[in-house]
């Protein structure tokens, strides 16, 4: 091949040997700082408490909780990370900007690495061995390299500009750093804002200078025609010419701008482990090792303890999680506690823990920290983890709705950590008096209502057919009602309706009568692990006395614990929710409902939808009843909690500015529907109260899905007769 000109360029922009030396020295220092930070952090994670089974690392077989475990295979985690799936999931525009930036910078990093491979490794090695310096950074490779990586540069530039623009001009609640829990002596998050700006604007400047020096170089070299392949630099160079920067001028500017670019890039690398930029490494790692099963199945307390009360209690995954938080604020935006004005924001929760851990472990964060005139909470050295660093009320405010976990782009699991901290409060006996009496009732009577266990089946009175005692007779389905459906006066008639529907369709079902106990889902999430274990023992004992093939529950909370938590205590029967049973009846044509022709909306219960991914089944039932389903803006995985979960229903909520249930009803108010359909007894209690508070009980009726079902099927029977 005839080679007229060698298609390549000089590395170091043709600088002198001294300059080279300076650069290498700088690079060594930078890498030292970077690796110091990296090692410090990794050691810190390594410090974490290893839960008994190391399950945070080893992905155990998740057969016991099939579709909800979401413990992805390593490959699929890689896809998730590569496609920025979690970032894009709920916010398309931001996600795409991030994706451009993400791949842009990966491209540029690769470009630099290839260059280093050629120049530092191949070049030096070949010179050392053969005395001759080899390089592949020339010819077609050089041309392709430039064409491809200029594209990366452009992608990074576009993504970064969009994100900087959003940082500057967006007024979204996500980016509002106001704390949900206001410390007494005040606080400032100005440094966090500066940290954000340094991060994105820093990236932008590095990019811009990088592209400029490319243009300046090509301009300085007089636009060799092969540099057309370096299309971005070529265009920029041409642009510079029109601005009057001639070849000599370009060379002069290039000489110092190169140093500016390199200086900034090196400084940035050194900065990474000491700042928000660390998420670039922490977040993907966190996503790769995440295990969403822990929210569905709350882990045990640390060995020999009742809950978290020291820094040593956090697991490596939790510590990594804290560092992964990018302060994107998505969890802050969706959290029902924060929305209601409670002193809890999952974002602040994670940030506080991160600051406290960094402070306690002496890992300095340069910016990205909150400051307080009077050191308190996570910023004080002497506080207790539970009570000072995270205050009681913050912990008690969580409804364990899982909205934060669902939306977090970096795979942080807030809920299990909150529960671990709550456990310490319970151990110290520090809780709302109403919660205390609920727990006491559950401990003595087995239900939160404090009624005699023998009253559990009182709801069956007045039915004109007997309910089978599953302890005496084999049934296909064991019906586990839960406390609300058994004891709440308003809900007892709904339980009756469900019994009638099942009876009319010839379903073989029975109940445990006075042997049923509270299943303990919320007891566990309140942090009363001992009581939870006791309830599990009692219920397992009751199950062993009964004969059945499957279980179905009324309460989604009960459903969650029976389905996801009881298997580790020996339960090996399939567990269904009654909405699934209704669907089975409908689609096996056991019943032929008439078409109701109503306009309704449907509220996804957290523990049915988000937790157990049952979104479509209730909707299919509603559609099958001939109802026109109008979705609320927040539905499906993004459903908004009613405020009852995680034991909140037993606690005082008068300090809230607006109850989540009221907020939700207002969301439904404008839809023009007659019915607000629920599939959870607690939802029924919360929302029938909320429609009154909003004052629209006459126009929006809260109705259980089985009532809707009965309305449609009873009529069929009438026609048949």
């Amino acid at each position: 091949m005839l080679v007229g000109v060698l298609e390549t360029r000089k590395i170091f922009g043709g600088e002198t040997e001294t300059a080279k030396m300076v650069f290498y020295l700088l690079a060594v220092v930078v890498l030292a700082i970077f690796f110091t930070g990296l090692v410090k952090r990794v050691i810190e994670y390594n410090h974490g408490r290893r839960p008994a089974s190391f399950s945070w690392l080893r992905r155990r077989d998740a057969r016991d909780i099939p579709e909800v475990s979401e413990r992805p295979k390593f490959a699929s985690s890689l896809v998730t990370i590569a496609a920025n799936k979690t970032v894009t999931k709920s916010r398309k525009k931001v996600g795409i900007s991030h994706l451009l930036l993400f791949w842009g910078f990966i491209g540029l990093f690769l470009a630099t690495s290839i260059l280093s491979l050629d120049y530092d490794i191949l070049g030096n090695a070949s010179r050392f061995i053969t005395g001759h310096t080899y390089s592949f950074f020339q010819g077609p490779f050089y041309l392709g390299y430039n064409a491809v990586f200029d594209l990366a540069g452009l992608a990074a530039l576009v993504g970064t500009v969009l994100l900087v623009y959003r940082r500057w001009f967006s007024r979204e609640i996500q980016l509002d750093y106001t704390r949900a829990q206001r410390p007494e002596g005040g606080y400032s998050r100005a440094k966090i804002v500066i940290g954000d700006q340094v991060f994105v604007v820093g990236l932008l400047l590095i990019l811009i200078t990088g592209i400029l020096i490319q243009g300046l170089r090509i301009d300085g070299e007089g636009f060799p025609s092969f540099e057309r392949w370096t299309w971005l630099g070529y265009l920029v160079g041409k642009g510079l010419v029109t601005l009057g920067v001639g070849s000599a001028g370009a060379r002069a500017i290039h000489a110092w701008l190169w140093w500016v670019h390199v200086g900034m890039a090196l400084a940035f690398v050194a900065y990474i482990p000491w700042s928000k930029a660390w998420h670039m490494l922490a977040s993907p790692t966190n996503l790769a090792v995440r295990d969403l099963a822990t929210t569905r199945r709350i882990p045990a307390p640390p060995e020999g303890k009742t809950g978290y009360d020291s820094i040593d209690d956090f697991t490596p995954r939790e510590l990594l999680g804290f560092d992964s938080c990018t302060k994107c604020g998505r969890c802050h935006a969706v959290c029902p506690a924060r929305t209601a004005g409670a002193p809890l924001s999952p974002r602040d929760f994670i940030l506080d823990l991160r600051q406290w851990v960094d402070r306690s472990r002496h890992i300095p964060l340069l910016l990205d920290t909150e400051t307080r005139p009077v050191a308190s909470g996570p910023l004080a050295g002497d506080g207790q983890l539970v009570g000072d660093v995270i205050v009681d009320k913050t912990l008690w405010s969580c409804t364990t709705c899982m909205a934060c976990v669902e939306i977090c782009p970096v795979g942080i699991e807030h809920v299990p950590t909150i529960v671990q901290l709550r456990r310490s409060l319970v151990d110290r006996g520090e809780m709302d008096p109403t919660l205390q009496s609920a727990l006491q009732n559950i401990a003595t009577q087995g239900n939160s209502f404090g009624k005699s266990a023998r009253m559990r089946a009182r709801w069956t009175k007045g039915l004109d057919f007997p309910i089978v005692d599953a302890r005496k007779e084999h049934v296909e389905y064991l019906w586990f009602l839960g406390d609300f459906a058994s004891f709440d006066e308003r809900l007892m008639s709904i339980s009756q309706t469900l019994a009638k529907v099942l009876n009319a369709s010839g379903v073989s079902f029975g109940i445990l009568f006075d042997d049923e106990r509270n299943a303990g889902n919320d007891v566990r999430r309140v942090g009363e692990e001992g009581l939870f274990e006791m309830l599990v023992e009692q219920n397992m004992e009751a199950f062993s006395k009964a004969s059945f093939d499957k279980i179905f529950t009324t309460d989604p909370h009960t459903f969650n614990t029976l389905r996801n938590e009881y298997p580790s205590f020996g339960l090996d029967k399939p567990v269904l929710h009654y909405s699934e049973l209704l669907a089975i009846l409908m689609f096996t044509e056991e019943v032929a409902p008439r078409s109701l022709g109503r306009r309704v909306t449907y509220h996804d219960p957290c523990y049915l939808g988000r937790y157990n991914r049952i979104f479509d089944t209730p909707r299919a039932v509603i559609a099958g009843l001939g109802c026109d389903l109008v979705e609320m803006p927040r539905h499906g995985a993004n459903s908004f909690c009613c405020g009852a979960g995680g034991g909140r229903i037993w606690m005082d909520d008068s300090y809230l500015e607006e109850r989540p249930s009221v907020n939700r009803i207002k969301e439904a108010q404008g839809l023009g529907v007659d019915y607000f359909v629920v599939a959870c007894p607690k939802d029924y209690a919360m929302f029938s109260d909320a429609v009154k508070t909003v004052g629209i009980e006459d126009s929006l009726k809260v109705i259980d899905i089985v009532e809707l079902f009965a309305e449609a099927t009873e009529a069929t029977e009438l026609v048949d007769v």
Partner: protein, 256 residues
């Protein structure tokens, strides 16, 4: 300060209570027994005094159904020692007088400054424990106590006198107090702590022989009151008439 708390088990009022075949006692076979709620207040007051002043807290109870539960819970909450007095038939109704005698027999061998117990229990037909016990031990006593402030040789007690009026007095030690309410709601004993107490804690047993069980009031009949039928009696008439009737009802309860 040495504090003894006398606690007891009681049929859970949440349960439907049935009368035995003889019609003289509740049917004890199927009812659930829980600790008397006022005794829980007494325990709480003792533990608060322990937190404030430093004290040893001993909990003592007769042998009654599920009493171990209550004693272990007391340990979990912070009691230093728990004692079960045996010698009574756990399945019969122990009257207040006999209960007091049994406790007095145990206390004869204990030195203590304060004995706290609940102001009442739902079945103390023959009187409330504190007064009887105080009289048997010949020490000062007071009941319906809502505040206790201890010092070395005296205790200051605040009693609820009705109508919100509070009576403050000072008693020599040792003294017996019937607690109506503690300074705070009784603390919660996490189940894990109770279970731990069951494994590591110890209930010491102390047998009490009663030589001269005094005569007891004889129950001729125990029966449920005639139910007034479900639903409210509706008051009819003009506002004036209804108001007069309502006031009459309130007055008949000794109020207003």
């Amino acid at each position: 300060m040495r504090i003894v708390v006398a606690m007891r088990q009681l049929a859970d009022l949440v349960e439907e209570l049935e009368v035995n075949d003889e019609g003289t006692d509740i049917d004890r076979e199927f009812v659930k027994f829980v600790s008397n709620e006022w005794d829980e207040a007494a325990l709480e007051e003792a533990l608060t005094l322990k937190d404030e002043l430093g004290a040893t807290v001993t909990v003592v109870a007769l042998d009654e159904p599920d009493v171990d539960q209550t004693l272990y819970a007391a340990l979990a909450k912070g009691a230093d020692r728990v004692v079960k007095l045996t010698g009574n038939d756990p399945d019969t109704w122990v009257r207040s007088r006999e209960r007091a005698q049994r406790l007095a027999s145990f206390l004869a061998g204990e030195s203590f400054d304060l004995l706290l117990t609940g102001v009442q229990a739902a079945d103390d037909l023959d009187g409330q424990l504190a007064g009887i016990l105080g009289s048997l031990l010949e020490v000062p006593h007071a009941a319906v106590v809502v505040g206790v402030e201890g010092s070395d040789s005296k205790v200051r007690v605040i009693q609820e006198m009705g109508g919100g009026l509070l009576g403050v007095s000072e008693l020599d030690l040792p003294a017996v107090l019937g607690i109506q309410a503690a300074k705070q709601t009784p603390r919660y004993a996490p189940i894990s702590r109770i279970r731990q107490a069951m494994q590591t804690g110890e209930i010491s047993e102390h047998e009490v022989e009663l030589s001269d069980a005094s005569a007891q009031v004889k129950v001729r009949r125990l029966y449920p009151p005639e139910s007034t039928g479900a639903g409210a009696t509706m008051l009819k008439g003009s506002p004036k008439e209804v108001a007069a009737e309502i006031i009459e009802i309130i007055k008949s309860k000794g109020l207003v």
